[in-house]
């Protein structure tokens, strides 16, 4: 009995010590940003495949240009649609709350609202690079063991993120971040009304531009659970992306070759 009591006390002390050294939610999310967002402007290819009823049905290829705004530390993004042919040449610009959609068929630039970032199963807001620590206030809910997309057990911090700015894509997000590596393992995304919109699993972490980036994200639609979309990033490379690109009038000028 005495030994058990000693063991109990030791365990409590160790747990308390571990909790004392625990980073805050905000620190964890800042480390996630630091671990995955390249510290320079870049371009990346994103291939999206949509599975309906377990079978691939539609695909999409995007080229994304991103750079961190020196003043706000938020990321500005330009998204260019390459495939399918129906959408080829369409573009989306995210520059804070200055967001535009450009269609080469009509030569029209249409201003879009933050809400419209959520259009699409894997939405424009999902493929854009964001600074989570700037957009959200994070709270550490606890620690959990979680299976990742490859069914490997991960020791995770469970975080709740609430939108801190109008530029946050979702009003509330839950993240599971692997302890030690600061890899995002899973995310749950909620609408303004609190409805669960989608669940994302991040895996295949690979070095890209000196960071560990999830090469594939699997997005499960929480409303239509028959629908799963994969987002695979590749060919991430450093590229000078001037500030002057992030405005309406530059959209027709963006080249991908």
């Amino acid at each position: 009995m005495k030994n058990v009591l000693i063991g109990f006390v030791v365990a409590v002390v160790l747990t308390a010590a571990a909790h004392a050294a625990e980073p805050t939610g905000q620190e964890i999310i800042a480390s996630v940003d630091a671990g995955r967002n390249p510290g320079q402007s870049f371009r990346v290819v994103d291939n999206l495949t949509e599975y309906v009823g377990g079978q691939p049905r539609n695909s999409m290829q995007l080229v994304i240009f991103a750079t961190q705004n020196k003043a706000t530390h938020q990321y500005n993004n330009l998204i260019r649609y390459v495939l399918p042919s129906r959408d080829a040449g369409k573009m989306v610009l995210f520059n804070g709350s200055n967001m535009w959609f450009y269609d080469p068929s009509s030569k029209a630039s249409v201003r879009i609202s933050p809400q419209q970032r959520l259009l699409g199963q894997a939405s424009n807001g999902d493929v854009a690079t964001v600074n989570l620590a700037k957009d959200y206030t994070a709270k550490l809910l606890g620690e959990e063991k979680l299976l990742d997309a490859d069914k490997q057990t991960r020791d995770c911090w469970h975080l709740e993120l609430k939108a801190a700015t109008d530029e946050a894509v979702y009003s509330r997000v839950e993240y599971w971040v692997e302890k030690g590596t600061y890899h995002q393992i899973k995310g749950k995304f909620f609408s303004d009304s609190g409805r669960l919109l989608k669940i994302a699993y991040y895996h295949k972490f690979m070095p890209m531009l000196g960071r560990q980036v999830p090469a594939e994200t699997i997005v499960i639609d929480s409303v239509n659970q028959n629908l799963v979309t994969t987002m695979a990033v590749s060919d991430m490379r450093a590229q000078d992306v001037p500030e002057s690109w992030f405005q309406r009038d530059f959209l027709p000028r963006l080249k991908i070759d």
Binding site: V45, W176, Q225, E243, Q247
Partner: protein, 456 residues
């Protein structure tokens, strides 16, 4: 037993609970794990499509102002091949072409002279003379403005229409002819400057003339010398743009801006103004210039022939909902258009059969210029992406209301992407209103069009 309970307690305190969060892993299909890595390379391949659109048309039988005896075909089938492509000639030089070749089949349409039509929408070269500084020449489709129903600052819209399936003003902009021009643009941090010169290449030709199938129609798009200077900049999230436009002796100025309100609303406004005659005087002057109307033709219905400063305004807001629905509400003002009194004059004059065709000529002129004929209009557009959670489907509709008489034109449309390559669309349009109203006076009452598109 006590030891076992204590041991379990220690374990619970010392180690976090295994999450129950993985039930959703079963939703990930096996095909995801076995999928081949996607292509990492990208190529700007352009956009190519074949389309077939079949339409039925309904017509009114009695009119306050007779549109003539000839009744158009009640059906039409249009086959088209469409291409939009940019070729890279060097790091700083590109060539862009956009073209649609179509053939229409309908009662009374002779093949191939009347049925085949090629619309070279764009063909231009772009030279990036310095970073973010561009010189372009050729036929270019330039569009300025932020409104959806009527864009006063869209100065190059006149006489650019190309046949298409949807009557939605948004679709009208998708298919239009560019203007031959020399264009320079410099984009800099927080703004851009643009200067355009579009030369007169041909004297204006009459409306409705039958062009040869391969006619590029430069006589439509380049009937006068025009210059446009525009300056866009960022200011307090309004993204304003100011414009100055010169068109054959007339100056016009324009301004447009937009601003987000909260998470879901974009408010926008567009204004253009300059000295101009009324739409009636302008139409009759054009008829005389193109010798469609005799030089002695009186201005009917009688209105002042003097020019005065006239404004065009579009102001509205667009709202987006959580379920991917968008609703836009817009007010349009076209000062040169017909007021309530102007409409009374139009109907009174047109009641005389001798002047009926002149009245329709005036309306045809406004339509050809893509100007509203009425002074006051309301435009409402609704779009619902993935309605009822149907993936790749879209429902849309619009209503344009003449606020002087309450008559309307509108359309309901549905489209569905069958795959990455096939799309199916259906559009039902109608005009409503009494015989002595803008939309109720038209011959066309209803139409239904089904369109199938194959993309490459």
């Amino acid at each position: 037993m006590k030891k076992a309970v204590l041991f379990l307690t220690v374990c619970v305190v010392a180690f976090p609970a295994v999450a129950q969060e993985n039930d959703d892993l079963g939703l990930i299909p096996g095909a995801v794990q076995t999928a081949a890595p996607p292509a990492a390379t990208v190529q700007d391949r352009g956009k190519y499509a074949f389309a077939n659109a079949f339409g039925w048309y309904g017509y009114r039988g009695s009119f306050a102002v007779s549109p003539g005896d000839a009744i158009p075909s009640r059906w039409n089938d249009r086959v088209s091949a469409d291409a939009l492509v940019t070729w890279k000639l060097s790091d700083s030089l590109r060539l862009t072409a956009s073209d649609v070749l179509s053939a229409s089949f309908a009662d009374g349409v002779g093949f191939p002279r009347e049925a085949v039509r090629n619309d070279l929408r764009e063909l231009y070269a772009t030279w990036e003379v310095a970073p973010e500084t561009y010189l372009e020449t050729g036929r270019i489709n330039v569009r300025n403005g932020v409104a959806f129903g009527y864009n006063p600052t869209d100065f190059f819209r006149a006489r650019t229409s190309v046949a298409q399936s949807s009557s939605d003003p948004g679709a009208l902009r998708n298919n239009r002819l560019g203007t031959v021009m020399l264009r320079g643009q410099h984009v800099f941090d927080g703004g851009s400057l643009e200067l355009i010169y579009a030369p007169k290449l041909h004297s204006p030709v009459p409306m409705g003339g039958l062009a040869y199938p391969l006619d590029p129609k430069f006589d439509q798009t380049n009937g006068s010398d025009r210059v446009l200077a525009s300056f866009s900049f960022e200011w307090e999230d309004f993204s304003p743009q100011v414009l100055a436009f010169y068109d054959a002796g007339r100056f016009k100025f324009g301004f447009n801006a937009s601003h987000p309100i909260g998470n879901s609303i974009i408010a926008y406004a567009s204004w253009a103004g300059g000295n101009a005659p009324s739409a009636i005087v302008d139409a009759i002057a054009f008829g005389k210039r193109t010798r469609t109307l005799p030089a002695t033709m009186l201005v009917l219905p009688p209105v002042s022939t003097s020019r005065s400063f006239k404004s065009d305004v579009s102001a509205g807001a667009s709202w987006n909902g959580e379920d991917k629905e968008t609703i836009s509400v817009e007010y349009n003002f076209h000062e040169a258009g017909l007021s309530k009194e102007g409409w009374r004059g139009w109907f009174a004059t047109g009641a005389n059969p001798a002047f009926a065709s002149l009245m329709w000529y005036i309306r045809g002129y406004s339509s050809d210029r893509q100007d509203p004929i009425s002074q006051h209009q309301a435009f409402v557009r609704a779009d619902w992406t993935e309605p009822f959670h149907i993936l790749h489907a879209d429902l849309s509709g619009y209503v344009m209301t003449d606020l002087t008489d309450g008559s309307c034109t509108g359309q309901v449309g549905a489209s569905y992407d069958l795959s990455d390559f096939w799309s199916l669309g259906a559009y039902v349009s109608a005009t409503t209103g009494g015989k002595r109203t803008e939309w109720g006076s038209l011959r066309s009452s209803t139409s239904a069009i089904v369109q199938l598109v194959r993309y490459f």
